[in-house]
């Protein structure tokens, strides 16, 4: 099981759509099972799925979600159980994990996750929560053996995202073609190692999301602006790799800006968008195996 955490301090860079799309294209591969966690208390991914009442894949989600909450089988219930002094006794089944399609499954967020940022939980203990939860998922006979688990993290070092970062194989950082994204990347990478240690720092992969094409008859691959900030990101990554000894990669595949990108979760991935994410996914798989 390989785990990927999508994170960026900056909101609105496309974390949710990217996590969703990568989980989707992963599950399109033969015999690959993928699981996506929404760990963001803003519940963007969960709401995108819940609001798709007229689309066939998720039409039963709302009923399932209510049942999951009633049976105390949400991610918050798992965390609550984990932080009790007693043994971590949380059964994994399809009340906890929703089946979007045969091989693409989902653990939604709940509003209660806001409480995790308050001081009610043992912060030291929570660091180990995701690792223990994944062990339970892996050992459960009620759910498949997932090949890939992806986490849509909140745009901050929340307790839960910290717990994910402490055990994931890859930190995936989407950036946008603007100065703040390049600067934010520098800030994020500077603090990642410090925050994660003494746990080993995972591999760090960065990709450009919402890249722009050049105008007119230009033969350039991207617009000047996109290329400038790609170059800046490469420079930041090279510096971090050298200075902090981290294993980093700027993926060659960029996801092009597209009208209606945010509706992709509800309406399905358009063909060109899908092929871009497939290319990115292939690069991610290679990087995970290096």
């Amino acid at each position: 099981m390989k785990t990927i955490a999508t994170i960026n301090f900056k909101g609105g860079v496309g974390k949710t759509t990217a996590t969703w799309a990568l989980g989707y294209v992963a599950a399109q591969q033969q015999q690959i099972e993928s699981l996506v966690f929404d760990l963001d208390a803003q519940m963007s991914l969960t709401q995108a799925i819940a609001l798709n009442e007229d689309g066939s894949p998720f039409k039963n989600f709302s009923d399932w979600y209510e049942r999951s909450i009633a049976r105390k089988k949400t991610i918050f219930d798992a965390l609550d159980e984990f932080t009790k002094p007693s043994t971590f006794n949380f059964g994994i089944n399809h009340d906890f994990i929703y089946r979007i399609s045969e091989r693409y499954h989902f653990v939604p967020s709940v509003e209660d996750l806001y409480w995790t940022e308050l001081e009610f939980f043992d912060r030291e203990k929570v660091k180990h929560f995701v690792q223990r939860l994944l062990e339970k998922v892996q050992n459960s006979k009620n759910v498949p053996n997932y090949d890939y688990v992806l986490f849509d993290c909140p745009p901050s070092f929340s307790l839960l995202s910290y717990s994910v970062l402490s055990c994931c194989n890859l930190v995936l950082i989407p950036i946008n073609p603007d100065f703040f994204a390049a600067k934010g990347l520098s800030l994020l990478l500077s603090s990642l190692r410090m925050r994660i240690e003494p746990f080993p720092v995972p591999r760090i992969g960065v990709f450009m999301n919402r890249a722009k094409k050049p105008g007119g008859s230009s033969l350039k691959r991207y617009s000047n602006e996109t290329q400038r900030y790609l170059d800046d990101a490469a420079e930041v990554l090279a510096h971090v790799a050298k200075d902090k000894g981290l294993k980093v990669k700027l993926f060659d595949t960029a996801i092009l800006d597209r009208v209606g990108m945010k509706r992709a979760i509800q309406e399905g991935l358009p063909g060109d968008f899908r092929s871009q994410f497939q290319a990115l996914w292939r690069e991610i798989q290679v990087f995970l195996q290096e």
Binding site: R123, F157, L159, F179, L187, S191, M194, E197, D232, V236
Partner: protein, 131 residues
């Protein structure tokens, strides 16, 4: 001379007059035309080698600028003509047009230098402030 011959002679005379007028018009047009300038040479598109060289030049200029030699760098840039500056900017992914004035290009390059400086400015979190 019958009437038909008279008409033919009149038409011929009119044609001769018109030819003379056209010759004079041509002469006037040639005289009034401005001395022809050689067609403006369009700058050749940047090759990959040009881009690599211009990016290296840009990086050297930025290094000099960030090392505190701002006036010296500015002088070096101002010594380039508008075309050279536009090619330097274009190779470094700055949005320039073929007629952009020199001062505007200089302004764009300066803005990019300041942006790169801001990017490299250390602003990471302080040590020992982990959770």
């Amino acid at each position: 001379m019958n009437e038909l011959d008279e008409l033919r002679a009149s038409i011929l005379s009119l044609h001769e007059k018109m030819d003379r007028v056209l010759v004079r018009l041509d002469a006037l047009q040639t005289r009034n035309a401005s001395p022809s300038r050689p067609p403006k040479q369009k700058p050749s598109p940047l090759t990959q080698d040009d881009i690599t060289a211009l990016q290296a030049q840009f990086a050297r200029l930025y290094e000099r600028w960030i090392d505190g030699n701002e006036l010296e760098t500015q002088d070096a840039l101002e010594q380039l003509d508008a075309d050279q500056l536009r090619r330097l900017a274009d190779a470094n992914n700055l949005n320039v047009t073929s007629k952009m004035p020199k001062q505007k290009v200089l302004h764009l390059i300066g803005a990019r230098f300041r942006e790169k400086k801001q990017l490299h400015k250390p602003s990471g979190p302080r040590e020992n402030h982990g959770p």
